[in-house]
Symmetry: C2
Subunit: 190 residues, 2 copies
DNA sequence: ATTATCTATAGATCTATAGATAATGC
DNA sequence: ATTATCTATAGATCTATAGATAATGC
């Protein structure tokens, strides 16, 4: 019981990381605090020394769920192979992403639930959307005449919508068709 | 208490219609059976003479939530002003639609929750996506060289994604920018 | 002495069922 | 007689809190 403060901080981050993954997999109300704490190797009671309420956890977990593109870009840059627009698209529509919402884009996993959340979470969301749009705009190739901001918005919307639809459909062929088609048209605009 | 069978059928449809709206507004777990029955002017106990289980209601409610484009197209046709691609886009990205998920597109309101639902509901979803893609393909203008099926998929994905993001963001200017931009680019491809 | 975590539980849900009541419909 | 709906409640959650326990850290 009750070890060091350093240990507590690690424990706190572990709880948030697990929650961030499980929220994307099962939804914001998809599991209880007892289940979450058990997965972290703890028990219910300790939870409220880490978070004022369950909603507090939801807000913190979004920090972990957001920014997957930013992290992908940084990882690519430090590996000497900077992230390209094509690679970002291909990874987004990949089967790995479709089958693993827990480690993927928070928007395709949770957008409607975010829309029903309180202002605080939706404000974090606005910021994150802006960040993602700027990152996307920076990667867009120059050949297309339309402003990069507009194309970034279309790209982001189409990716989120395609993944949302692909995951909702039970028909695998349809899922693949949606993802592949959207990737192709975004990479090769008319 | 206990009136005619004709009355029961009406009651049944009323419960499903209310649920269909509330699911899109509050999510599949956003309210309890007691609350739903109260809104229908009834009490909890009667529910299970109408539905085997809560999941049964969810499945039935999707029939009511799906097919908004089909109904819009039929209404337009019978009013002598057939539905155009532009009108469909403009209505989808309208503020009325953004603010009223309960009467709007089931995908932008519920896609991630459908993805977590059982095979039966996801099979209904596959069918509905196919119907919507065919309807969209039939409305697409011919000027663009790319196959209509592909353009229908991009259009559908971009609309669902744009509305999902616009509703999730707290920043009204950003919401409007996303919806307007996607509508413009879909109506006027490069 | 303080505190990180544990056990136990109160109080508020929510789904589903049992049995009563008051209409319909043969 | 049948049945559409009602009242009441069992049983299973789930969030949050109270109080105990066993470490840390001054």
């Amino acid at each position: 019981m009750g070890y060091s403060q350093a240990q507590k901080e690690k424990t706190h981050k572990r709880i948030v990381a697990i929650a961030s993954k499980r929220f994307r997999e099962k939804g914001l109300a998809g599991f209880g605090i007892a289940e979450l704490m058990k997965e972290a190797g703890l028990t219910v009671g300790g939870f409220y020394k880490h978070f004022e309420s369950r909603d507090e956890l939801v807000a913190e977990a979004f920090s972990g769920a957001f920014g997957t593109w930013q992290r992908q870009k940084e990882a690519a840059a430090s590996s000497g192979q900077p992230l390209s627009f094509e690679k970002l698209i291909d990874d987004y529509v990949s089967d790995a992403h479709r089958k693993n919402p827990g480690t993927g884009c928070a928007f395709s996993a949770l957008a409607p639930e975010i829309a029903r959340s309180d202002k605080r979470i939706r404000a974090l969301t606005s910021e994150q959307i802006q960040n993602d749009l700027e990152l996307l705009a920076g990667l867009l190739p120059g050949k297309d005449k339309r402003p990069v901001r507009s194309r970034a918005i279309l790209t982001f919307s189409a990716l989120v919508g395609a993944m949302s639809l692909a995951r909702a459909a039970s028909d695998e062929a349809l899922s693949h068709e949606i993802l592949k088609t959207v990737a192709d048209l975004l990479k090769h605009p008319a």
